[in-house]
Symmetry: C2
Subunit: 275 residues, 2 copies
Protein backbone atom coordinates (compact mmCIF):
# COMPACT_ATOMS: atom_id res chain seq x y z
CA UNK A 1 0.00 0.00 0.00
CA UNK A 2 1.44 3.32 -1.04
CA UNK A 3 1.33 6.63 0.83
CA UNK A 4 -1.28 7.99 -1.62
CA UNK A 5 -3.70 5.04 -1.29
CA UNK A 6 -7.15 5.87 0.08
CA UNK A 7 -8.50 3.32 2.47
CA UNK A 8 -12.23 2.82 1.97
CA UNK A 9 -14.07 1.37 4.97
CA UNK A 10 -17.42 -0.35 4.62
CA UNK A 11 -18.98 -0.44 8.07
CA UNK A 12 -22.24 -2.24 8.74
CA UNK A 13 -24.33 -3.81 11.48
CA UNK A 14 -25.10 -6.59 9.04
CA UNK A 15 -23.32 -8.13 6.04
CA UNK A 16 -21.94 -4.89 4.62
CA UNK A 17 -23.37 -5.74 1.20
CA UNK A 18 -25.43 -2.56 0.87
CA UNK A 19 -22.54 -0.31 1.92
CA UNK A 20 -20.19 -2.04 -0.51
CA UNK A 21 -22.66 -2.02 -3.39
CA UNK A 22 -23.28 1.73 -3.19
CA UNK A 23 -19.65 2.46 -2.32
CA UNK A 24 -18.40 0.54 -5.38
CA UNK A 25 -20.88 2.37 -7.62
CA UNK A 26 -19.72 5.75 -6.36
CA UNK A 27 -16.01 4.93 -6.39
CA UNK A 28 -16.24 3.64 -9.98
CA UNK A 29 -16.81 7.29 -10.87
CA UNK A 30 -13.29 8.10 -9.65
CA UNK A 31 -11.27 5.49 -11.42
CA UNK A 32 -7.89 7.18 -11.00
CA UNK A 33 -8.10 7.00 -7.21
CA UNK A 34 -6.05 4.13 -5.82
CA UNK A 35 -8.06 2.47 -3.06
CA UNK A 36 -7.82 -0.31 -0.54
CA UNK A 37 -11.08 -1.77 0.79
CA UNK A 38 -11.66 -2.77 4.42
CA UNK A 39 -14.95 -4.42 5.36
CA UNK A 40 -16.09 -4.20 8.98
CA UNK A 41 -19.33 -6.13 9.23
CA UNK A 42 -21.65 -7.09 12.11
CA UNK A 43 -20.86 -3.96 14.14
CA UNK A 44 -23.68 -4.11 16.68
CA UNK A 45 -22.16 -2.75 19.88
CA UNK A 46 -20.31 0.27 21.23
CA UNK A 47 -17.05 -1.62 21.68
CA UNK A 48 -17.08 -2.84 18.09
CA UNK A 49 -17.81 0.66 16.83
CA UNK A 50 -14.96 2.05 18.91
CA UNK A 51 -12.60 -0.66 17.65
CA UNK A 52 -13.64 0.31 14.15
CA UNK A 53 -12.82 3.98 14.83
CA UNK A 54 -9.38 2.86 16.01
CA UNK A 55 -8.82 0.99 12.73
CA UNK A 56 -9.88 4.03 10.75
CA UNK A 57 -7.49 6.21 12.74
CA UNK A 58 -4.61 3.83 12.09
CA UNK A 59 -5.40 3.87 8.39
CA UNK A 60 -5.55 7.67 8.43
CA UNK A 61 -2.07 7.80 9.92
CA UNK A 62 -0.54 5.55 7.27
CA UNK A 63 -1.67 7.59 4.28
CA UNK A 64 -1.52 11.17 3.15
CA UNK A 65 -5.31 11.10 2.80
CA UNK A 66 -7.93 10.46 5.44
CA UNK A 67 -10.07 7.35 4.75
CA UNK A 68 -13.53 7.23 3.23
CA UNK A 69 -16.24 5.46 5.22
CA UNK A 70 -19.49 4.14 3.78
CA UNK A 71 -21.71 2.95 6.59
CA UNK A 72 -25.10 1.31 7.08
CA UNK A 73 -25.73 1.38 10.81
CA UNK A 74 -29.34 1.44 11.91
CA UNK A 75 -28.42 2.42 15.46
CA UNK A 76 -27.81 6.19 15.39
CA UNK A 77 -25.57 6.04 18.47
CA UNK A 78 -23.20 3.67 16.69
CA UNK A 79 -23.22 5.90 13.61
CA UNK A 80 -22.35 8.85 15.87
CA UNK A 81 -19.32 6.96 17.20
CA UNK A 82 -18.09 6.43 13.62
CA UNK A 83 -18.54 10.18 13.05
CA UNK A 84 -15.68 10.77 15.47
CA UNK A 85 -13.16 9.05 13.22
CA UNK A 86 -10.83 11.12 11.08
CA UNK A 87 -12.58 10.27 7.82
CA UNK A 88 -15.21 11.37 5.34
CA UNK A 89 -18.18 9.45 6.73
CA UNK A 90 -20.98 8.77 4.29
CA UNK A 91 -23.83 7.43 6.39
CA UNK A 92 -26.21 5.84 3.90
CA UNK A 93 -29.05 5.24 6.33
CA UNK A 94 -29.06 8.64 8.03
CA UNK A 95 -29.23 10.39 4.67
CA UNK A 96 -32.42 8.68 3.62
CA UNK A 97 -34.22 7.33 6.69
CA UNK A 98 -35.32 10.76 7.88
CA UNK A 99 -37.00 11.80 4.60
CA UNK A 100 -38.54 8.32 4.36
CA UNK A 101 -39.92 8.55 7.91
CA UNK A 102 -41.50 11.90 7.06
CA UNK A 103 -42.96 10.65 3.81
CA UNK A 104 -44.33 7.43 5.29
CA UNK A 105 -45.55 9.14 8.45
CA UNK A 106 -43.94 6.61 10.75
CA UNK A 107 -40.72 5.83 12.55
CA UNK A 108 -38.41 3.22 11.09
CA UNK A 109 -38.33 0.03 13.13
CA UNK A 110 -34.59 0.38 13.77
CA UNK A 111 -34.12 -3.33 13.58
CA UNK A 112 -30.47 -3.96 13.18
CA UNK A 113 -29.25 -6.21 10.40
CA UNK A 114 -32.53 -6.55 8.56
CA UNK A 115 -31.48 -5.77 5.04
CA UNK A 116 -30.45 -9.27 4.06
CA UNK A 117 -32.48 -11.22 6.54
CA UNK A 118 -34.80 -13.90 5.18
CA UNK A 119 -37.75 -11.63 5.73
CA UNK A 120 -39.90 -12.97 2.97
CA UNK A 121 -39.84 -16.76 3.22
CA UNK A 122 -41.89 -17.37 0.08
CA UNK A 123 -39.49 -15.30 -1.93
CA UNK A 124 -36.53 -17.03 -0.36
CA UNK A 125 -37.83 -20.53 -1.12
CA UNK A 126 -38.49 -19.42 -4.69
CA UNK A 127 -34.91 -18.27 -4.92
CA UNK A 128 -33.49 -21.55 -3.62
CA UNK A 129 -35.75 -23.51 -5.97
CA UNK A 130 -34.50 -21.41 -8.86
CA UNK A 131 -30.85 -22.10 -7.94
CA UNK A 132 -31.54 -25.83 -7.76
CA UNK A 133 -33.40 -25.77 -11.05
CA UNK A 134 -30.56 -23.90 -12.72
CA UNK A 135 -27.94 -26.33 -11.42
CA UNK A 136 -29.97 -29.26 -12.70
CA UNK A 137 -30.41 -27.61 -16.09
CA UNK A 138 -26.87 -26.38 -16.54
CA UNK A 139 -25.16 -27.05 -19.84
CA UNK A 140 -28.05 -29.02 -21.32
CA UNK A 141 -27.75 -31.66 -18.57
CA UNK A 142 -31.43 -32.37 -18.36
CA UNK A 143 -34.27 -31.97 -20.85
CA UNK A 144 -36.77 -32.83 -18.19
CA UNK A 145 -38.91 -29.90 -17.17
CA UNK A 146 -37.26 -27.64 -19.73
CA UNK A 147 -40.73 -26.21 -20.18
CA UNK A 148 -40.49 -24.85 -16.61
CA UNK A 149 -37.61 -22.61 -17.63
CA UNK A 150 -38.40 -18.90 -17.83
CA UNK A 151 -35.31 -18.32 -19.89
CA UNK A 152 -32.92 -20.70 -21.66
CA UNK A 153 -29.51 -19.28 -22.45
CA UNK A 154 -27.83 -20.68 -25.55
CA UNK A 155 -24.35 -20.11 -26.90
CA UNK A 156 -21.02 -21.76 -27.65
CA UNK A 157 -19.01 -23.37 -24.88
CA UNK A 158 -17.51 -20.74 -22.51
CA UNK A 159 -19.60 -17.82 -23.66
CA UNK A 160 -20.77 -17.12 -20.10
CA UNK A 161 -23.99 -19.15 -19.90
CA UNK A 162 -23.39 -20.88 -16.57
CA UNK A 163 -22.48 -17.90 -14.35
CA UNK A 164 -25.20 -15.75 -15.93
CA UNK A 165 -27.84 -18.45 -15.37
CA UNK A 166 -26.76 -18.77 -11.75
CA UNK A 167 -26.95 -15.02 -11.25
CA UNK A 168 -30.46 -14.90 -12.73
CA UNK A 169 -31.55 -17.68 -10.37
CA UNK A 170 -29.84 -16.39 -7.27
CA UNK A 171 -30.72 -12.72 -7.58
CA UNK A 172 -33.94 -12.63 -9.55
CA UNK A 173 -35.39 -16.04 -8.62
CA UNK A 174 -35.65 -16.85 -12.33
CA UNK A 175 -35.70 -20.46 -13.49
CA UNK A 176 -32.81 -20.19 -15.94
CA UNK A 177 -31.65 -23.19 -17.94
CA UNK A 178 -28.73 -23.12 -20.33
CA UNK A 179 -27.91 -25.17 -23.35
CA UNK A 180 -24.70 -25.33 -25.37
CA UNK A 181 -24.50 -24.83 -29.13
CA UNK A 182 -21.87 -27.28 -30.32
CA UNK A 183 -20.12 -27.98 -33.66
CA UNK A 184 -22.59 -30.80 -34.40
CA UNK A 185 -25.45 -28.30 -34.30
CA UNK A 186 -23.62 -26.09 -36.79
CA UNK A 187 -22.96 -29.06 -39.10
CA UNK A 188 -26.64 -29.99 -39.03
CA UNK A 189 -27.31 -26.24 -39.29
CA UNK A 190 -30.18 -26.54 -36.82
CA UNK A 191 -30.94 -25.81 -33.20
CA UNK A 192 -30.78 -28.77 -30.81
CA UNK A 193 -34.18 -30.43 -31.23
CA UNK A 194 -35.04 -30.00 -27.53
CA UNK A 195 -34.93 -26.24 -27.97
CA UNK A 196 -37.09 -25.98 -31.08
CA UNK A 197 -40.35 -25.78 -29.16
CA UNK A 198 -38.99 -23.20 -26.70
CA UNK A 199 -37.72 -20.49 -29.06
CA UNK A 200 -39.84 -17.86 -27.30
CA UNK A 201 -37.75 -18.19 -24.16
CA UNK A 202 -34.29 -18.48 -25.68
CA UNK A 203 -31.67 -15.79 -25.24
CA UNK A 204 -28.29 -16.13 -26.92
CA UNK A 205 -24.87 -15.18 -25.63
CA UNK A 206 -22.05 -14.53 -27.99
CA UNK A 207 -18.47 -13.52 -27.36
CA UNK A 208 -15.54 -12.09 -29.24
CA UNK A 209 -13.53 -14.94 -30.82
CA UNK A 210 -10.16 -13.73 -29.49
CA UNK A 211 -11.48 -13.52 -25.96
CA UNK A 212 -13.09 -16.94 -26.33
CA UNK A 213 -9.83 -18.45 -27.55
CA UNK A 214 -8.00 -17.04 -24.54
CA UNK A 215 -10.62 -18.35 -22.09
CA UNK A 216 -10.63 -21.79 -23.68
CA UNK A 217 -6.83 -21.89 -23.79
CA UNK A 218 -6.69 -21.64 -20.03
CA UNK A 219 -8.74 -24.80 -19.83
CA UNK A 220 -7.25 -26.79 -22.69
CA UNK A 221 -4.10 -25.16 -24.02
CA UNK A 222 -3.13 -25.92 -27.63
CA UNK A 223 -6.32 -27.83 -28.31
CA UNK A 224 -8.45 -27.60 -31.41
CA UNK A 225 -11.22 -26.50 -29.03
CA UNK A 226 -9.21 -23.43 -28.04
CA UNK A 227 -7.79 -22.58 -31.47
CA UNK A 228 -8.74 -19.12 -32.69
CA UNK A 229 -9.98 -20.56 -36.00
CA UNK A 230 -12.43 -22.88 -34.19
CA UNK A 231 -13.60 -20.09 -31.92
CA UNK A 232 -14.19 -17.80 -34.86
CA UNK A 233 -16.03 -20.48 -36.87
CA UNK A 234 -18.20 -21.42 -33.89
CA UNK A 235 -19.19 -17.88 -32.92
CA UNK A 236 -20.04 -16.98 -36.54
CA UNK A 237 -22.10 -20.15 -36.96
CA UNK A 238 -23.86 -19.59 -33.62
CA UNK A 239 -24.79 -16.01 -34.48
CA UNK A 240 -26.09 -17.12 -37.89
CA UNK A 241 -28.21 -19.82 -36.26
CA UNK A 242 -29.59 -17.40 -33.67
CA UNK A 243 -30.38 -14.79 -36.32
CA UNK A 244 -32.25 -17.33 -38.40
CA UNK A 245 -34.42 -18.35 -35.44
CA UNK A 246 -34.93 -14.73 -34.35
CA UNK A 247 -33.25 -15.43 -31.00
CA UNK A 248 -32.14 -12.14 -29.42
CA UNK A 249 -28.56 -12.26 -28.23
CA UNK A 250 -26.11 -10.32 -26.10
CA UNK A 251 -22.36 -10.02 -26.37
CA UNK A 252 -20.72 -11.14 -23.13
CA UNK A 253 -17.20 -10.00 -24.08
CA UNK A 254 -17.15 -6.78 -22.07
CA UNK A 255 -20.12 -7.26 -19.78
CA UNK A 256 -20.37 -8.46 -16.22
CA UNK A 257 -22.89 -11.13 -15.24
CA UNK A 258 -24.84 -8.37 -13.46
CA UNK A 259 -25.20 -6.43 -16.69
CA UNK A 260 -26.01 -9.49 -18.78
CA UNK A 261 -28.64 -10.58 -16.26
CA UNK A 262 -30.32 -7.17 -16.06
CA UNK A 263 -30.41 -6.97 -19.86
CA UNK A 264 -31.92 -10.46 -20.14
CA UNK A 265 -34.62 -9.56 -17.62
CA UNK A 266 -35.45 -6.49 -19.71
CA UNK A 267 -35.19 -8.28 -23.07
CA UNK A 268 -37.58 -11.04 -22.13
CA UNK A 269 -39.84 -8.69 -20.14
CA UNK A 270 -39.49 -11.00 -17.15
CA UNK A 271 -40.35 -8.03 -14.94
CA UNK A 272 -38.43 -9.43 -12.00
CA UNK A 273 -37.08 -7.15 -9.31
CA UNK A 274 -33.90 -8.16 -7.55
CA UNK A 275 -34.50 -10.49 -4.59
CA UNK B 1 -52.61 -3.79 -5.90
CA UNK B 2 -54.63 -1.96 -3.29
CA UNK B 3 -55.26 1.79 -3.00
CA UNK B 4 -52.82 2.02 -0.08
CA UNK B 5 -49.91 0.29 -1.86
CA UNK B 6 -46.79 2.40 -2.32
CA UNK B 7 -45.10 1.92 -5.65
CA UNK B 8 -41.32 1.94 -5.28
CA UNK B 9 -39.41 2.78 -8.45
CA UNK B 10 -35.78 1.83 -8.91
CA UNK B 11 -34.45 3.98 -11.74
CA UNK B 12 -30.94 3.53 -13.08
CA UNK B 13 -28.76 4.19 -16.11
CA UNK B 14 -27.32 0.73 -15.57
CA UNK B 15 -28.58 -2.53 -14.05
CA UNK B 16 -30.48 -0.96 -11.15
CA UNK B 17 -28.71 -3.27 -8.70
CA UNK B 18 -27.29 -0.48 -6.54
CA UNK B 19 -30.61 1.37 -6.34
CA UNK B 20 -32.44 -1.84 -5.42
CA UNK B 21 -29.87 -2.95 -2.86
CA UNK B 22 -29.98 0.32 -0.92
CA UNK B 23 -33.74 0.67 -1.46
CA UNK B 24 -34.41 -2.81 -0.05
CA UNK B 25 -32.22 -2.08 2.97
CA UNK B 26 -34.08 1.13 3.71
CA UNK B 27 -37.55 -0.27 3.07
CA UNK B 28 -36.86 -3.26 5.34
CA UNK B 29 -36.98 -0.68 8.15
CA UNK B 30 -40.65 -0.02 7.37
CA UNK B 31 -42.02 -3.52 7.29
CA UNK B 32 -45.68 -2.57 7.66
CA UNK B 33 -45.66 -0.57 4.42
CA UNK B 34 -47.17 -2.51 1.55
CA UNK B 35 -45.05 -1.95 -1.55
CA UNK B 36 -44.88 -2.84 -5.19
CA UNK B 37 -41.49 -2.66 -6.91
CA UNK B 38 -40.94 -1.35 -10.44
CA UNK B 39 -37.46 -1.52 -11.93
CA UNK B 40 -36.60 0.87 -14.74
CA UNK B 41 -33.06 0.09 -15.83
CA UNK B 42 -30.77 1.35 -18.61
CA UNK B 43 -32.27 4.85 -18.60
CA UNK B 44 -29.64 6.70 -20.64
CA UNK B 45 -31.57 9.29 -22.64
CA UNK B 46 -34.03 12.12 -22.19
CA UNK B 47 -36.89 10.22 -23.81
CA UNK B 48 -36.43 7.24 -21.50
CA UNK B 49 -36.32 9.52 -18.47
CA UNK B 50 -39.50 11.25 -19.59
CA UNK B 51 -41.22 7.90 -20.19
CA UNK B 52 -40.18 6.95 -16.67
CA UNK B 53 -41.73 10.14 -15.27
CA UNK B 54 -44.95 9.21 -17.08
CA UNK B 55 -44.95 5.79 -15.44
CA UNK B 56 -44.38 7.34 -12.03
CA UNK B 57 -47.25 9.76 -12.63
CA UNK B 58 -49.59 6.91 -13.58
CA UNK B 59 -48.60 5.03 -10.44
CA UNK B 60 -49.20 8.17 -8.34
CA UNK B 61 -52.72 8.41 -9.72
CA UNK B 62 -53.62 4.84 -8.87
CA UNK B 63 -52.71 5.04 -5.19
CA UNK B 64 -53.51 7.28 -2.27
CA UNK B 65 -49.74 7.78 -1.80
CA UNK B 66 -47.20 9.20 -4.19
CA UNK B 67 -44.48 6.74 -5.21
CA UNK B 68 -40.97 6.46 -3.80
CA UNK B 69 -38.10 6.65 -6.27
CA UNK B 70 -34.58 5.41 -5.61
CA UNK B 71 -32.33 6.44 -8.46
CA UNK B 72 -28.74 6.03 -9.58
CA UNK B 73 -28.35 8.28 -12.59
CA UNK B 74 -24.89 9.63 -13.25
CA UNK B 75 -26.19 12.24 -15.71
CA UNK B 76 -27.51 15.13 -13.61
CA UNK B 77 -29.84 16.28 -16.38
CA UNK B 78 -31.62 12.92 -16.36
CA UNK B 79 -31.86 13.02 -12.56
CA UNK B 80 -33.40 16.49 -12.87
CA UNK B 81 -36.08 15.11 -15.20
CA UNK B 82 -36.97 12.46 -12.60
CA UNK B 83 -37.22 15.27 -10.02
CA UNK B 84 -40.28 16.55 -11.87
CA UNK B 85 -42.28 13.40 -11.11
CA UNK B 86 -44.84 13.43 -8.32
CA UNK B 87 -42.76 11.28 -5.98
CA UNK B 88 -40.25 11.30 -3.15
CA UNK B 89 -37.07 11.11 -5.19
CA UNK B 90 -34.04 9.72 -3.37
CA UNK B 91 -31.12 10.36 -5.68
CA UNK B 92 -28.34 8.14 -4.36
CA UNK B 93 -25.59 9.54 -6.53
CA UNK B 94 -26.32 13.24 -6.05
CA UNK B 95 -26.29 12.83 -2.29
CA UNK B 96 -22.78 11.47 -2.19
CA UNK B 97 -20.95 12.44 -5.38
CA UNK B 98 -20.60 16.09 -4.40
CA UNK B 99 -18.97 15.43 -0.99
CA UNK B 100 -16.78 12.79 -2.65
CA UNK B 101 -15.68 15.20 -5.38
CA UNK B 102 -14.73 17.75 -2.73
CA UNK B 103 -12.85 15.21 -0.65
CA UNK B 104 -10.98 13.69 -3.58
CA UNK B 105 -10.30 17.06 -5.17
CA UNK B 106 -11.53 15.98 -8.58
CA UNK B 107 -14.65 15.74 -10.68
CA UNK B 108 -16.31 12.37 -11.05
CA UNK B 109 -15.92 10.91 -14.52
CA UNK B 110 -19.68 10.83 -15.05
CA UNK B 111 -19.42 7.63 -16.98
CA UNK B 112 -22.85 6.17 -17.21
CA UNK B 113 -23.46 2.58 -16.22
CA UNK B 114 -20.07 1.93 -14.67
CA UNK B 115 -21.05 0.42 -11.36
CA UNK B 116 -21.29 -3.18 -12.50
CA UNK B 117 -19.06 -2.99 -15.53
CA UNK B 118 -16.18 -5.44 -15.77
CA UNK B 119 -13.78 -2.72 -14.75
CA UNK B 120 -11.24 -4.93 -13.13
CA UNK B 121 -10.56 -7.83 -15.45
CA UNK B 122 -8.24 -9.67 -13.07
CA UNK B 123 -10.89 -9.61 -10.39
CA UNK B 124 -13.54 -10.71 -12.85
CA UNK B 125 -11.53 -13.70 -14.07
CA UNK B 126 -10.88 -14.66 -10.48
CA UNK B 127 -14.60 -14.56 -9.83
CA UNK B 128 -15.43 -16.75 -12.83
CA UNK B 129 -12.68 -19.19 -11.85
CA UNK B 130 -14.13 -19.37 -8.35
CA UNK B 131 -17.63 -20.13 -9.71
CA UNK B 132 -16.22 -22.90 -11.90
CA UNK B 133 -14.22 -24.32 -9.03
CA UNK B 134 -17.26 -24.30 -6.77
CA UNK B 135 -19.44 -26.04 -9.36
CA UNK B 136 -16.78 -28.72 -9.80
CA UNK B 137 -16.48 -29.18 -6.05
CA UNK B 138 -20.17 -29.14 -5.21
CA UNK B 139 -21.52 -31.85 -2.95
CA UNK B 140 -18.21 -33.69 -2.67
CA UNK B 141 -18.14 -34.36 -6.41
CA UNK B 142 -14.42 -34.09 -6.74
CA UNK B 143 -11.59 -34.61 -4.29
CA UNK B 144 -9.11 -33.35 -6.83
CA UNK B 145 -7.64 -29.99 -5.90
CA UNK B 146 -9.55 -29.91 -2.63
CA UNK B 147 -6.41 -28.32 -1.25
CA UNK B 148 -7.13 -25.28 -3.47
CA UNK B 149 -10.32 -24.60 -1.55
CA UNK B 150 -10.26 -21.56 0.71
CA UNK B 151 -13.28 -22.83 2.56
CA UNK B 152 -15.03 -26.21 2.56
CA UNK B 153 -18.61 -26.18 3.79
CA UNK B 154 -19.81 -29.35 5.48
CA UNK B 155 -23.23 -30.33 6.71
CA UNK B 156 -26.12 -32.72 6.21
CA UNK B 157 -27.95 -32.90 2.91
CA UNK B 158 -30.07 -29.75 2.28
CA UNK B 159 -28.52 -27.63 5.00
CA UNK B 160 -27.74 -24.83 2.51
CA UNK B 161 -24.20 -25.74 1.43
CA UNK B 162 -24.63 -25.37 -2.34
CA UNK B 163 -26.24 -21.92 -2.58
CA UNK B 164 -23.91 -20.55 0.09
CA UNK B 165 -20.82 -21.89 -1.71
CA UNK B 166 -22.04 -20.35 -4.95
CA UNK B 167 -22.63 -17.01 -3.27
CA UNK B 168 -19.12 -17.05 -1.77
CA UNK B 169 -17.65 -17.77 -5.20
CA UNK B 170 -19.78 -15.34 -7.17
CA UNK B 171 -19.61 -12.38 -4.83
CA UNK B 172 -16.36 -12.76 -2.94
CA UNK B 173 -14.32 -14.71 -5.50
CA UNK B 174 -13.69 -17.38 -2.87
CA UNK B 175 -12.86 -20.94 -3.90
CA UNK B 176 -15.58 -22.64 -1.89
CA UNK B 177 -16.01 -26.41 -1.99
CA UNK B 178 -18.75 -28.25 -0.15
CA UNK B 179 -18.97 -31.75 1.17
CA UNK B 180 -21.96 -33.60 2.56
CA UNK B 181 -22.02 -35.34 5.93
CA UNK B 182 -24.05 -38.50 5.39
CA UNK B 183 -25.43 -41.26 7.66
CA UNK B 184 -22.41 -43.47 6.85
CA UNK B 185 -20.11 -40.84 8.36
CA UNK B 186 -22.19 -40.81 11.53
CA UNK B 187 -22.12 -44.62 11.76
CA UNK B 188 -18.35 -44.62 11.40
CA UNK B 189 -18.41 -41.62 13.76
CA UNK B 190 -15.71 -39.92 11.71
CA UNK B 191 -15.29 -37.14 9.18
CA UNK B 192 -15.01 -38.24 5.54
CA UNK B 193 -11.33 -39.16 5.17
CA UNK B 194 -10.80 -36.58 2.39
CA UNK B 195 -11.62 -33.81 4.84
CA UNK B 196 -9.38 -34.92 7.68
CA UNK B 197 -6.33 -33.02 6.41
CA UNK B 198 -8.32 -29.85 5.72
CA UNK B 199 -9.96 -29.23 9.11
CA UNK B 200 -8.51 -25.70 9.24
CA UNK B 201 -10.67 -24.62 6.31
CA UNK B 202 -13.92 -26.39 7.21
CA UNK B 203 -17.03 -24.48 8.18
CA UNK B 204 -20.16 -26.35 9.19
CA UNK B 205 -23.77 -25.54 8.42
CA UNK B 206 -26.52 -26.88 10.58
CA UNK B 207 -30.26 -26.42 10.40
CA UNK B 208 -33.30 -26.90 12.57
CA UNK B 209 -34.61 -30.47 12.17
CA UNK B 210 -38.21 -29.40 11.54
CA UNK B 211 -37.19 -27.01 8.82
CA UNK B 212 -34.91 -29.66 7.30
CA UNK B 213 -37.73 -32.20 7.28
CA UNK B 214 -39.98 -29.76 5.47
CA UNK B 215 -37.31 -28.93 2.87
CA UNK B 216 -36.53 -32.61 2.28
CA UNK B 217 -40.22 -33.47 2.07
CA UNK B 218 -40.63 -31.20 -0.92
CA UNK B 219 -38.01 -33.25 -2.71
CA UNK B 220 -38.92 -36.74 -1.54
CA UNK B 221 -42.25 -36.78 0.28
CA UNK B 222 -42.85 -39.59 2.80
CA UNK B 223 -39.31 -40.89 2.47
CA UNK B 224 -37.07 -42.03 5.29
CA UNK B 225 -34.72 -39.27 4.09
CA UNK B 226 -37.35 -36.62 4.88
CA UNK B 227 -38.69 -38.10 8.11
CA UNK B 228 -38.36 -35.82 11.11
CA UNK B 229 -36.66 -38.58 13.11
CA UNK B 230 -33.93 -38.96 10.47
CA UNK B 231 -33.47 -35.22 10.22
CA UNK B 232 -33.16 -34.91 13.96
CA UNK B 233 -30.72 -37.81 14.25
CA UNK B 234 -28.58 -36.48 11.40
CA UNK B 235 -28.37 -32.88 12.61
CA UNK B 236 -27.51 -34.02 16.17
CA UNK B 237 -24.84 -36.39 14.88
CA UNK B 238 -23.43 -33.75 12.53
CA UNK B 239 -23.17 -31.16 15.30
CA UNK B 240 -21.47 -33.68 17.59
CA UNK B 241 -18.97 -34.56 14.87
CA UNK B 242 -18.25 -30.87 14.15
CA UNK B 243 -17.83 -30.09 17.86
CA UNK B 244 -15.37 -32.94 18.28
CA UNK B 245 -13.23 -31.67 15.39
CA UNK B 246 -13.50 -28.04 16.53
CA UNK B 247 -15.20 -27.08 13.26
CA UNK B 248 -17.02 -23.76 13.70
CA UNK B 249 -20.58 -23.91 12.45
CA UNK B 250 -23.49 -21.64 11.59
CA UNK B 251 -27.20 -22.28 11.76
CA UNK B 252 -28.78 -21.70 8.35
CA UNK B 253 -32.39 -21.99 9.56
CA UNK B 254 -33.19 -18.29 9.68
CA UNK B 255 -30.32 -16.83 7.71
CA UNK B 256 -30.06 -15.75 4.11
CA UNK B 257 -27.14 -16.87 1.96
CA UNK B 258 -25.88 -13.27 2.13
CA UNK B 259 -25.70 -13.43 5.91
CA UNK B 260 -24.17 -16.91 5.99
CA UNK B 261 -21.55 -15.86 3.45
CA UNK B 262 -20.59 -12.68 5.27
CA UNK B 263 -20.30 -14.62 8.54
CA UNK B 264 -18.13 -17.29 6.92
CA UNK B 265 -15.80 -14.63 5.50
CA UNK B 266 -15.47 -13.15 8.98
CA UNK B 267 -15.19 -16.52 10.76
CA UNK B 268 -12.35 -17.76 8.59
CA UNK B 269 -10.73 -14.31 8.37
CA UNK B 270 -10.81 -14.58 4.59
CA UNK B 271 -10.66 -10.80 4.48
CA UNK B 272 -12.43 -10.66 1.14
CA UNK B 273 -14.38 -7.59 0.08
CA UNK B 274 -17.40 -8.05 -2.13
CA UNK B 275 -16.53 -8.16 -5.83
Amino acid sequence: MSWSTRTVFYVSDSTGITAQTLGHSLMSQFETVETQAVVVSFVTGVEQAEACVARITTAAESSEHRPLVFSTLVDKDLAAIIDRANALHMDLFRSFLTPLEQELGMKSTHYVGRSHATVDTTQYIRRMDAVNYTLQHDDGQSHQHLDHAEVILVGVSRSGKTPTSLYLAMHYGIYAANYPLIPEDFERDALPSELAKHTDRLVGLTIDADRLASIRSERRPNSRYAALASCRAETIAAERLMARHAIPWLDSTAKSIEELSAEIVQLRALDAPLI
